[in-house]
């Protein structure tokens, strides 16, 4: 009975799930069900207010004696460091770049949502909450999402106060636009550089605290291990990437704000250094990894041009408003100049298959169909391997309609960026686009307080799992990062720290020594394998496997094959890797080796998670679960749960991950199938 998993005072609207199929049988063991121990009760609109009041206080004199470690300086980590520093705690902040200002959040283009209702177009906290839960295909937690919608308006106030130069209208008031299929205008933006401006705001607030002495910043430092003492997170082991020194940093509480793991696919829109190491090391120390298979794939990226490619660049989705998407009808035409292909030989496939939505179908559908066209051999652009990975995004009609100047005004900098990367002028030759991995909805499991199942370990931003479900709507990741950092963590960490002062531990503690030793041994091992292949080459191979079998479309057979391939790759990695140089200087090959080792293990878990989930929802499309006309088919009766995976040992030694299910019970919102037709 659904109600039995809930606290008193709430009436569930849906039943708890009962899984009947089990494709992943033999790859995992089933653990106990999981419940969020601090899930709030009562009317949804009052849950966060009540909780803030209930959370205990720490008096200002005591705050100075409490130490907080924050790994990551993106929107989630930077905002948290600034806020907790300002509150008077002793904060240590870590990032692997040379400056906190360079965290991957800097690259976000489109904008940040907030339920301000400045346009009086019917927006409200509840509507933002509703859109986000629905957009996530009902695989996120309603209490967390409601809180996100609730604090969204404060985020804009905070950022404006810091001097973030948002777009403004002629009267000098803030401007909004609409985004990602939403019917209200709630997205705040700073031209195409919203992430940059928000991050600079958080960074400057954090640097102010550095000057005030409450935050100490450690740049070019990589966290390589979590220190757990008596079941509680008490610190990290980090490598100074310049001197190679392995350092121990102890604290009363540890926050991971280390971003997403999309780079497991090798090619993605993520920054080169984005990695899973911090989260994965915590996972191996007992933290659960939730919904790892949920990947967001963005349809409008600049395609791969050759084997050399190191990353992919996103082009704003707004281009689909005016561009028409097509591929040649005949394979023979694929290497022709597109301008020489007559109208009747072009297949405007989205307009053909989805006559009512046309080129504006949702992200997952647009992506999947582009892949289908290329798989059929009708892709365009250069051959990469034995494939052409691209479809045309054609502005000829738009140029006819608005003139070149009209198109220029709307999209100019995007057209320039495209030309710089591809060397082709998109005003003359149709653009080519292809889907790319962009964001991950999975991450470490957290409760309502953003605390993982390891007490004292908090996780925020893209690194946690709770707010986006199976699919993230545009402009909501920035919102979540800042909500977590400025408004949620400062309240929930305070409640945890009110239990302090905690017993002091020192570096000679057995758990610390052990953590440090394991880091050292791992580094020594990388340097001593002395094989023939670079870490990069393994990363690329892993990426190919993941994209092929755990990318836009997944099948039972493909996922089984991927797991076998990854296990072979893992065995080879540990016997044939080649890392030159030494451990006591800057050594980028060594850094990569550590990250790739973790990506390989994560990739295996992603495939097992995807195999287990025999349903299609959001960014997870299982070919076995689709409607007659090819749409994604969810199975709420079986899969309305969070899959929280416990580390069960290395698979090469017979270990198996343990699956804990947390039922997703809705009390304020009714589950519905999404329909695109």
């Amino acid at each position: 009975m659904a109600g039995s998993t809930l606290h008193d005072g709430l009436t569930p609207l849906n039943e708890a799930s009962v899984q009947k199929s089990d494709d992943a049988h033999g790859y995992y063991t089933l653990g106990d069900k999981l419940v969020d121990p601090v899930a709030p009760v009562g009317p949804i609109a009052e849950r966060w207010t009540t909780r803030k009041f209930e959370n205990r206080l720490v008096n200002p004199a005591n705050r100075r004696k409490l130490d907080v470690i924050i790994v990551g300086t993106g929107l989630a980590g930077g905002a948290a460091a600034a806020t907790l520093g300002e509150a008077g705690y002793n904060v240590k902040s870590f990032c692997y770049q040379d400056s906190p200002r360079r965290a991957h959040s800097i690259a976000a283009q489109g904008g940040i949502n907030a339920a301000k209702n400045y346009k009086e177009d019917g927006d409200s906290t509840f509507r933002l909450f509703y859109d986000t839960v629905k957009g996530g295909d009902y695989r996120s937690r309603e209490s967390n999402v409601y809180r996100l919608a609730e604090v969204s308006a404060n985020i804009i106030d905070q950022c404006v106060a810091q001097g973030v130069p948002f777009a403004r209208d002629y009267g000098g008031l803030l401007d909004n636009r609409s985004f990602g299929g939403v019917q209200v205008s709630r997205t705040f933006y700073a031209r195409g550089q919203t992430g940059q401006q928000l991050l600079i705001g958080a960074y400057q607030a954090m640097e102010r605290q550095v000057a005030a002495g409450t935050v100490e910043q450690f740049t070019r430092h990589e966290m390589l291990e979590l220190v757990v003492v008596d079941g509680k997170a008490r610190g990290i082991i980090a490598r100074d990437m310049v001197t190679g020194e392995i350092e121990t940093h102890l604290a009363d509480v540890v926050v991971l704000a280390t971003g997403g793991y999309g780079n497991v696919f090798f090619l993605s829109t993520n920054a080169m250094g984005s990695n899973v190491t911090a989260a994965w090391r915590a996972h191996r120390k007992g933290a659960y990894m939730a919904n790892p298979c949920y990947t967001q794939i963005h349809p409008t990226c600049i395609p791969v041009s050759g084997d050399h490619q190191s990353k992919l660049t996103l082009m704003s989705e707004s281009l689909r408003n005016d561009g028409r998407i097509w591929v040649p009808k005949k394979k023979e035409d694929c290497d022709k100049d597109p301008r020489d292909i007559p109208e009747e030989d072009r297949d405007y496939y989205l307009e053909r298959i989805y006559p009512s939505f046309g080129n504006l179908v949702p992200r997952d559908i647009a992506s999947r169909q582009a892949k289908n066209m290329c798989d059929e051999g009708r892709g365009v652009g250069p051959m990469v391997g034995d494939f052409r990975r691209g479809v045309y995004l054609d502005f000829t009609d738009a140029i006819k309609r608005y003139g070149k100047a009209g198109v220029e005004e709307k999209y100019d900098n995007l057209f320039d960026m495209y030309e710089r990367i591809t060397g082709e002028n998109p005003y003359e030759v149709p653009m080519r686009i292809y889907p790319a991995v962009h964001y991950v909805m999975g991450g470490l499991w957290v409760d309502y307080h953003l605390q993982s199942n390891i007490p004292g370990l908090f996780v925020s931003g893209e690194a946690n799992f709770s707010d986006h479900g199976a699919n993230r709507l545009g402009a909501s990741a920035l919102m979540q990062g800042l909500a977590d950092g400025y408004f949620v963590l400062p309240n929930t960490i305070r409640d945890y720290l009110a239990d302090g002062p905690f017993e002091k531990i020192d570096e000679s503690h057995e758990a610390v020594v052990e953590a440090k030793r394991s880091v050292q041994e791992r580094i020594d091992r990388f340097l001593s394998i002395d094989g023939t292949r670079s870490a990069d080459s393994y990363h690329k191979e892993l990426g190919n496997i993941m994209w092929e079998y755990c990318g836009m479309e997944r099948t039972e057979e493909g996922l089984r094959k991927a797991i076998d391939l990854i296990r072979e790759l893992k065995a080879d990695f540990w016997s044939n890797l080649k890392v030159l140089g030494s451990a006591d200087t800057l050594n980028q090959s060594l850094e990569k080796a550590g990250r790739v080792a973790d990506f390989i293990e994560l990739g295996e878990l992603m495939c097992i998670d995807a195999l287990n989930r025999r349903e299609s929802c959001g960014g997870h499309f299982r070919a076995e679960s689709q409607t007659d006309d090819g749409e994604a088919l969810r199975h709420d009766d079986e899969f309305a749960y969070v899959a929280a995976w416990e580390w069960g040992g290395d698979s090469l030694e017979g270990g198996q991950p343990v699956l804990h299910k947390e039922d997703l019970i809705y009390t304020a919102i009714e589950m519905k199938q999404r329909s695109y037709k």
Binding site: D157, G163, K311, S534, L580
Partner: protein, 247 residues
């Protein structure tokens, strides 16, 4: 394309360093400059030579991490970041010289990687608005005229890459400084600390060992974000006003 690369190699901060020559082949026009270096590094690794260390992260022109002097020009021949420079800007058979940013306040860490933490310390000295979290007024309470908002935005796009310093014969960071002073100085939120900010930031700039500005303009010419030279006038004007009023 086949290329000859003359690359600055330096083992560590205390090493003297020097130029090494490498031949690299199989370079396609579509590669970015950094992807070309990736190819070189794969080849070096295979030969058992340690790869060349260089900085990059976003490879999208926005994080400010990449930083190479290419044939004596900061970020190379085009007005963009190194990661957005593509090999079609070069020709088959070219010889390309690659060095790290050269400026005393940016010491070399290894090969092409330098330490730019001086920029963080300049921001710490006043490059912020003191707005405590949770107490911010309603965002639309203080409208910002559109021209001011535009100007603030245009200069707030500085990515902190340091190309301006590397390009300046004086090793001055005035463009970087001017961009921040102008960004915050244009907005109502930046007014309360406007005068102390400029004095403190210029003080820190000089303390770090950056040189003075003599209006040569190489900075603005090299800046991938096209920060205009007039932010330096704004900087000087604010500094004069502040000093005159005893800040």
């Amino acid at each position: 394309m086949n290329l000859t690369l003359k690359i600055w190699r330096q083992d560590g901060p205390d090493d003297t360093g020097g130029i090494h020559t490498y031949e690299v082949s199989g370079i396609s026009q579509d590669m970015s400059f950094l992807e070309m270096l990736d190819v070189l590094n794969e080849q070096l690794n295979e030969k058992g030579e340690e790869p060349v260390a260089f900085d990059s992260d976003c490879r999208e022109g926005i994080c400010g991490m990449c930083s190479l002097m290419i044939n004596g020009e900061a970020h190379g021949p085009e007005v963009t970041t190194t990661c957005q420079l593509h090999m079609r800007s070069f020709s088959d058979g070219d010889t390309i010289t690659i060095e790290p940013w050269r400026a005393e306040p940016f010491p070399v860490i290894k090969d092409l990687v330098v330490d730019r933490s001086a920029f963080d310390r300049i921001i710490q000295s006043g490059g912020f608005v003191s707005a405590n979290t949770g107490s911010a007024p309603e965002a639309n309470a203080a409208p910002v005229p559109r021209d001011k908002a535009m100007r603030a935005f245009n200069v707030a796009t500085c990515i902190g890459c340091g190309a301006c310093v590397a390009a300046c014969p004086n090793g001055s960071a005035s463009l970087f400084l001017g961009a921040k002073i102008t960004h915050l100085g244009e907005l109502p939120q930046g007014q309360p600390e406007r005068w102390t900010r400029v004095v403190d930031m210029v003080g820190q700039h000089d303390h770090e060992g950056f040189g003075g500005c003599t209006n040569i303009g190489e900075c603005a010419a090299a800046c991938p974000k096209e920060i205009p030279l007039d932010v330096i006038s704004q900087l000087n004007k604010d500094l004069r006003t502040a000093l005159k009023n005893g800040h």
